[in-house]
Structure formats: C-alpha cells, structure tokens
Symmetry: C2
Subunit: 354 residues, 2 copies
C-alpha cells in the first residue's frame, strides 16, 4: 500500500477471481463455456474493422443496445451495456445504494456483492440461505432495502421461481431490486418480462457464460428507461467509452445467433443433468443446479482434498474456503468428454481411498 491511498479504501479486500492457467488442463473452475463463440463473431471481426480501430468506439453503443433490445423485445433505451456484467453491477450498486445506502443479498452468493458494498460504502445485510441452500423468498418480501440476488444463485445453482421474484419486486416498490441473471440462459425462467411492469427492477445478464465470450467482456442490464438514464449518467462520468469496438461488433453478432447458442446451451444443460446424476450415483449430494455448474459434496472425501486430487490430474474445479460451503465443490459443466474424464477421475480417487 502507498502512503497516498485514501482512508476509505485502506481496509478494502478485493474480489479474488478464479485461477487462470496457461498449461493444458480441463478447466472447470470459472464457469466458462466449453464452446467457441458463434462463427458470426469471426466474420464481423474483419480486417476492415481492425483497420478502423484508430477511431473511438461509439460511447452510446447504439449497435449493441439495438441488438440486445431486439432479442429481449424491449426498446434500446431500456438497455445499459457494460464492460462485463461486473461493470453493470458496479455502476448500479454505486449509483443506487450510494454511500450509506442499504443493500441486502443472500449470505452465500456471488462473492463480489460484499466487495462492491465495501468499495462504495454501502451498508450490506447478508441474509442466510435455508439449510438446503435455497433462498427463502419471504426474507426479501417488503424488505425496504435495495436487493441484489443472483438467479440462479452462485455457487449453489439454485433458482428462485418467477412468482417468487415477482413477489420480491412488487413488495419493495421504493427500492431497487437487481436480479443478476448471469446464469439464466441455463435455467429458462427469466424474470425479464417484469421490467416492463416494475420501475424498480434491473435485470443483468452477461455474454461470458452462455455466449462463450468471457474474454470479450460484455454484460448488460435491462430496466425502465429512468434507471438506464441513471446508469448512463454514471458511466459518462467514469468511463464513457466503456466497451471497445471489437467487443461491440462481436457481441451484437453473437446475440443475434440464437440457432448456434440455443444448441450449445441445450448441450450444456443435458451434460449437467447427466453428470449430476452420475455424481449422485457416486454418493454425492448435488443441488438441483439450473446453471452451467454443478455444486456437489461427498461424505467420502472432503471438498478440499478432492479439489487437490483433481488438480494432480490436471482438472481444475472451484473450492471456496468459506463457512457452510467448505465441503462443496463448484464444478463448471464443460465439454461432454471432459466431464466424463472428470467422472472417471472422481471414481478413481474414491476407489483409491476405499
């Protein structure tokens, strides 16, 4: 730390991303898609486009917001795009929870929410989950605080129903409810249509998981236009050109290619169901994950040990050294054959210890 850092940030503990590696491994630790992006992405990243990178990107992101708006049947003024959905969440928590504002979220959820609360000086209430890791919707009814919920939740994979989400949103009319739908493409139960009905709902999405573009950094939020105006006001006061030209073109091409991604998402969902069942047959407890990862625990081996054993076999999974979930692993649903390698490796590890 330098002598110059403001007192506000001296005790800040940053988010720790999952490990990125260069060696050849089966990488099931950061919930990336195992598939390359749509071939349309390569088409739009042409030499002609690259030669024009001397020009600034469009700060209003018209091409991308139009493509997203069309996909979700909203108007472009209901779409805010960010440099990853982390960017959208940061601006939203900064802007709407303010300094000294109040926010609540599930106690076990995306690890970045408490970090945002810390950096922006927000009073955060972390609400415990039920014993089965499900979110108790009643805890959020008429809460009278801003709310952020990952749906499906991470790392549990469990989803709130559309009806529960509507009850939460409708019972907190004076506070913003952020539904972080980073994993919703694998769940098929989005609350997106509620944005037209409720002025206090912001739904965020990302291209990083379902659209195989984690390396491109594009996310977005959809809400009524007053919310989007506020987010743009913050963006234009922080980093107006927040998404580069290549990411805009690629994401706009990707989101229009439903045929490609619907197929890939179906494959991931099918693999998830298959591997969850295989793990259960091996004695694992698995949540009923609706995302592109599995959340699993075994009485036969501790999660920390299993992660270490898998790592020796060049398979990376995510272990959280955190109360209540420290005997669970979060395992990304990768390519079908890689997942069978995983199942075989786990079988072998368990047999060695039997």
């Amino acid at each position: 730390m330098s002598r110059f850092l403001s007192d506000n940030y001296k005790s800040l503990v940053p988010y720790v991303p999952g490990e990125q590696v260069n060696v050849k491994v089966i990488k099931l630790n950061t919930n990336e898609s195992p598939f390359p992006p749509s071939p349309k992405v390569k088409e739009v990243l042409s030499e002609e486009v690259i030669d024009k990178l001397n020009l600034y990107s469009d700060p209003e992101l018209k091409e991308l917001t139009a493509a997203i708006a069309k996909q979700f049947d909203v108007t472009p003024d209901m779409v805010f795009c960010g440099n990853g959905s982390d960017d959208v969440l940061a601006f939203a928590i900064m802007g709407f929870c303010g300094r000294g504002g109040k926010l609540c979220c599930p106690e076990i959820s995306y690890g970045f929410y408490p970090v945002y609360a810390d950096i922006f000086g927000v009073e955060l209430e972390q609400i415990p989950l039920n014993d089965d890791f499900s979110i108790n919707a009643e805890d959020y009814i008429g809460k009278n605080k801003n709310i952020v919920i990952a749906n499906p939740n991470a790392p549990t994979g469990l989803a709130l129903s559309f009806d529960d989400v509507e009850r939460i949103v409708s019972s907190n009319p004076d506070n913003l409810v952020i539904m972080d739908e980073a994993y919703m493409a694998f769940c098929y139960d989005s609350c997106m249509e509620l944005v037209k009905k409720y002025p206090n709902l912001l739904v965020t999405r990302t291209f990083s998981k379902s659209h195989s573009l984690a390396g491109l950094r594009v996310g977005f939020g959809i809400a009524q236009k007053e919310i989007i105006e506020d987010l743009n006001k913050l963006k234009f006061s922080f980093n107006p050109y927040n998404i580069n030209t290549l990411s805009v073109k690629a994401a706009a091409a990707a989101i229009a290619d439903n045929e490609y991604y619907d197929d890939k998402i179906s494959q991931i969902v099918a693999t998830r169901e298959k591997v969850q069942n295989q793990l259960r047959e091996l004695g694992f407890r698995c949540t009923d994950s609706k995302s592109n990862f599995i959340f699993a625990s075994s009485d036969r081996i501790s999660a920390a040990e299993l992660a270490a054993e898998l790592r020796k076999r060049n398979i990376l999974v995510r272990y959280f050294n955190k109360a209540k979930i420290d005997n669970y692993l979060r395992i990304t649903v990768g390519a079908a054959d890689d997942m069978q390698t995983l199942v075989s490796a786990i079988t072998e590890i368990l047999e060695e210890r039997a």
Copy 2:
C-alpha cells in the same frame, strides 16, 4: 432520473465526448490518429484467438504489462493497465483523492477532471492558466494537494518542461502528482524516467492517440509499485477483468512496433508544424502545440462560426463553448491531404467573408 438514484449523484454532470459520426466526413474533432493501427495488430487477432474468447481474459494482464514495462524500461509491477486511460484516471482520483480529499488541476484542461472530482466527492481547485494559456509551474510548487496535469495540456497543446514537472513532483512529496501524458508521444519530453526517483508520481498514457487504437480502449499508468498495488486493489474491487483478451493482444503487439509508430508520429508532427504555419499565415493565433491537435483562433471569424462553416463542408473540428477559450478551435492533426483540404476550406471561408 429514477427515484432510486443516490443523492450523491443527483446533480452529477457527465463528461460529453466529442461527436462520433457515421457519414463520410473529415473527422478532426476527437484527436484520433489518421492512420490504421500497426499491421501486427491484425496478425495477433487471429481466428485461433477469437475461438478462445470463451475463456476469461487474464485479470492480471501479464502479457500487456510486460510489453509496456519493456518499452519504458520499468518492471511489470510498475505498470497498471486500464480500459482506456480514463479508467486509470478514474481509479487514481477515486483511490488517492478519496471522498473529501483535495485535488488541483489547470482551469483549462481535460474536461473530465472536474467530472471525476464530482463523482468521487473530491474538493477540486481549478488553477487559472497564464494569459498565453501556458501553465505557471510556480502555482503547483509546494501545493500540498494532489495534482493532475495533462502534459501536453488539452486543448491548448502546450507542454510543461521536464524541469518544471520535476520541481512540481519534488515539492509535493506528501501528495500524488498525476501527469496525464495522453499526448506526450507527439512532444518527446516525457517525465517517465522520474517515476523511479519519486514515489508520488503517476504517469498515465493511452493507446488512443499515438497508437491508433482509440477503438480498442487501452491506457496505462506507470508509478512505483506501491501506487500500482493500490490501483490494482481498486480494480479488483470494481472490475477485475477490465481489459478484454483482444485488446490485450492488440495493444501488446502495437507497443512493440516502434518502427511503425515512430514513423506515423513523425508524420503527424510534421503535418502539425506545417498546418500551424499555414494557419498563422492566414492570420490565426496558434499555440505552440506539442500534441496531435492545433489550437487556433482568428480575429476574422469567430470560432463558433468557423466550426459551423467547416461542418457545412463536412469537416468536423472541436469547439468548446467555455469562457476564455470560446474563440478557439481544437483541430486534430489528421492525414496530410485532409489537412490541406482543411486549409483550403478555411481560406475559402475567410475569402467569402472578406
């Protein structure tokens, strides 16, 4: 504005970027390079790289920081990369000037500094320039506030000498001095070597101007490692994956291609000198710009009128409706032939009014 925006931001006035247009014009309004990026950029944005965009970008940006460190003869732990240098400036002003911290900058300078001060709750002193638009270094000696200065300054184009910069940095040991060298490639008088000597100096740069990559959004700051650690702490608490994979690869390739960019920068500097002289012959007052733009005023036509007349001829320049500079135009140094079209157009406009 929504009902939900925090009181902190209700009166925030965002930065207004220069206009981006789609029609065919001579675009001299946002200080972009007229040249395409290095051919090496196209080479590294390969189909293989695009196919791997399903994987997250490296949050530590090792490839890019190493390439920048090599270029400036510093260690990689002295380099912080941002999604444009706006991103670097935002984190620096947020982190080091804190809420209630003190910052000063030239009264006429990059229009974003007051916006940052506003969004981050920083007390900003804007120090008037000399009558000839030069910065009086004495005003910043022993100031005992954080300092941000664009050098060369924008939109004046005037530069502080290396010695003046050192006097400012050395006389404010307990405060951070940010030297924003966005345009320094066109000036050849960087203070970069001072970062090794002074722990309170942060020098920022961008790929947007000299390196023909405005559309790619990459900037960086160089300072001693404690400052860089602080900036990374904020980044990892706001948006860990702040630069996408394509921008990392392209910028790393670009910064290594000195041969290409040295030539392009020389051409821009030569064009700047030529056109400044031509404008002076037409009776304009021009500052001695050391950047990739010209700052010019004429008694024969108001700046606002001239900008409007040029626009009718499909030539865009930047007019600031701001006290003290409202009779000046900031004209980007574009391609040599486009600049001759500009000079001809101005000659014609003046003759029509003679």
